[in-house]
């Protein structure tokens, strides 16, 4: 089953071709693509102006996968959650191609797509490799700029939210911390580089909701405030590179400790007996220290951690949308939805 997948849920304009769980191509528009041939049209640099980029991204995805519309069986498109005006562009495009080539559309939940992104496999691998890891129930953790969510998937399409953020997402908290430290935006990745050179225990920042893990809530507003206060105080004395590195390391360490403690509490007190795997997706997965933290946690509880195989699958992308659409069709069937019923759902929740 070959799928053309589209994701325009927020910042990125993305398209991909997937075959079952295999990623045949995975294209994300970037500033760098500007230097590539653009057919004479120079798109606006505004990040979220998907309209100008979507055609190029789709044709590139098809070309890179060395396929054509005659081989594509369905179109998968993200319908939510996300920014309404952004989602709309991808959905409109999906409908256009659906009409033109008489292809069914599979609407996809962006968070669900992140959740199963570890199942995506490289096009050079055997088909079964990805799917063999999927045996329900599994735990899922989505950590990105817009989401911080720990769930239990009883089966495909049936989720129990175990913990989610009550204010900021983890990726957002890292970006904001980076900005406060003067590291620019988006700063999560830069923060990680500085943190690597710093001492995570140099500053004692309060671990959010410490001692209240049983509430099963993530929260980053207090940590942000604490960092702000600490920076203001340091500025009065001196804020050199070493201090910035130490602050970055301490902040990042505390942010990850919070995730660790909440999930650790759950796995220690009321784990699901049959769940032995944790799928992790979302942009923060790119952070090595984060992966180390999660691996340590999984080891302690004797469950296996699965991360996406490629960096391009961490942040928003369309390959995960194609894979998720395939899984939906495989597990639930009837995933094709009448065009007229497909609409953007900016505040879509997990079922």
């Amino acid at each position: 089953m070959t799928i053309l997948a589209i994701d325009t849920s927020c910042d990125e304009t993305a398209a991909a071709i997937t075959k079952e769980t295999k990623v045949m191509s995975n294209v994300i528009w970037s500033q760098a693509s500007l230097h590539a041939k653009f057919g004479g049209v120079v798109p606006s640099l505004a990040q979220r102006h998907h309209e100008e980029k979507i055609d190029w991204v789709i044709s590139r995805a098809i070309k890179k996968a060395r396929t054509g519309f005659n081989e594509i069986n369905a179109i998968a498109v993200t319908v939510g959650p996300g920014l309404a005006i952004a989602l709309e562009v991808g959905i409109r495009k999906a409908k256009e191609f659906s009409n033109k080539y008489n292809l069914p559309i599979i609407p996809v939940n962006h968070v669900e797509a992140h959740l199963f992104s570890p199942l995506a496999i490289s096009s050079s691998l055997q088909q079964e490799a990805g799917l063999s890891t999927l045996k329900f129930p599994v735990y899922g953790l989505v950590v990105s700029g817009g989401n911080t969510l720990f769930v239990l998937a009883r089966k495909f399409g049936e989720y129990k939210i175990l913990a989610k953020t009550s204010d900021d997402a983890l990726g957002e908290a890292l970006d904001k911390g980076a900005r406060m430290l003067g590291l620019g935006y988006p700063g999560g990745a830069v923060l990680e580089r500085f943190a690597r050179q710093g001492n995570p225990l140099a500053y004692k920042l309060p671990i959010p909701l410490s001692g209240q893990e049983k509430r099963m809530v993530f929260s980053y507003s207090g940590l942000k405030t604490a960092l702000y206060r600490l920076i203001s105080k340091q500025k009065e004395e001196n804020l050199d590179k070493k201090i910035i590195c130490d602050l970055a390391a301490s902040y990042q360490y505390t942010a990850f400790q919070h995730i660790y403690r909440v999930i650790d509490f759950y796995l220690s007190s009321l784990p699901e007996p049959d769940a032995s795997k944790l799928f992790i997706g979302g942009g923060v997965t790119a952070n090595l220290e984060f992966r180390k933290t999660i691996r340590g946690l999984c080891k302690k509880h004797k469950i296996k951690a699965f991360f996406p195989y490629s960096k391009k699958l961490y942040t928003d992308n369309a390959a995960m949308v194609g894979v998720c659409a395939f899984l939906r069709e495989k597990h639930l069937g009837n995933s094709y939805v009448n065009q007229g019923l497909i609409d953007r759902v900016p505040n879509l929740q997990l079922p």
């Binding site: 927020c10 505004a46 979220r48 005006i85 405030t225 702000y228 206060r229 505040n347």
Partner: protein
Amino acid sequence: MKIQKIQNTSIDSVVKTLESGGLVIMPTETVYGAFVDATNKKAVEKLTKFKSRPFGKPYSVAVADQEMASRYVFLNKMAKRLYKNFLPGPLTIISKGKHKVAEGVESESGTLGIRIPNHKFVLEVVRKFNKPITATSANPSYKKRPYSVDDILNNISVKQRKCIDLIIDAGELPKNEPSTVIDTTSEDLTILRQGDIKFSRKNEVVSRSPENTQNIAKELWQKYEQYLGSRSIVFALEGEMGAGKTIFTKGLAKAVGVKETITSPTYDLEHIYYINGKRVFVHIDTWRMQDPEEFDDLSFDKRILDKSIIVLEWADKVHNKIRRYAEDALIVWVKISYGKRSNERLINWTTL
């Protein structure tokens, strides 16, 4: 449509045009205004067509003096004091109406805004006409403020042009602000739009915990809740990272009746919540916007027209963009700043 120089125009000819249901554009001490007989239903409908704004948004009216005003509204003590001190002048005073004007002039809740323009020509017209005339700026909704006849004509369609019967041209007007709008129908005076007349007041409280901040938001909501349904209510929040803008929004949302957990809209830019499946609570964050122009992509016009409740974080970034809506929305500017002690926040607000 006729354009006449002000020095060549007789008061009588303007009065005649108004009497026959005509739309007259005249200069005032603020901007060019569009005037029709406020007691003539057809004339008011024509004006609404010209302004191309939805039915149900009230118009203020111009009268010649306080005596004439008292025929159309109930003047309480506060209003009388304001009339005495500031009128004629660039101030619109909202009072409880006597329902003697055409439908659509008073607000849905039956209030009426009255103005006595400090402009000799207009005052003479109203005095002679001896009935209130609508006093609204002569630009269509959200278009440039009209300081010259060209400002008006360059921004309207042929259809809108056809609505105009007479334009009194007084050349380019000095760039004065539109009138300040004050509501005297509630217990304490509320400024709905800030012009050149300023009423200063200090609204500041100290919060000592996140719960405290949420309660302050709730109290602020109760203060302005009465405008719900008559216009959009915008809470424009400013404050540094970690100051508690999202916490404040949580309190506001609870008071308004949002059931879901409010989380930061930083990444998605905008979160939308429905209250009882109907009224919309919009939570916007401009932090990630590289350019204030991105704000225009969010269909803010529509949210204002829908009379939504809107909370904007990092409002300072789009200050000028929000100001454009000062006529159609009640804008509450809220600033949250760090206090001396670690858990302290100073919260101050203003509708100016």
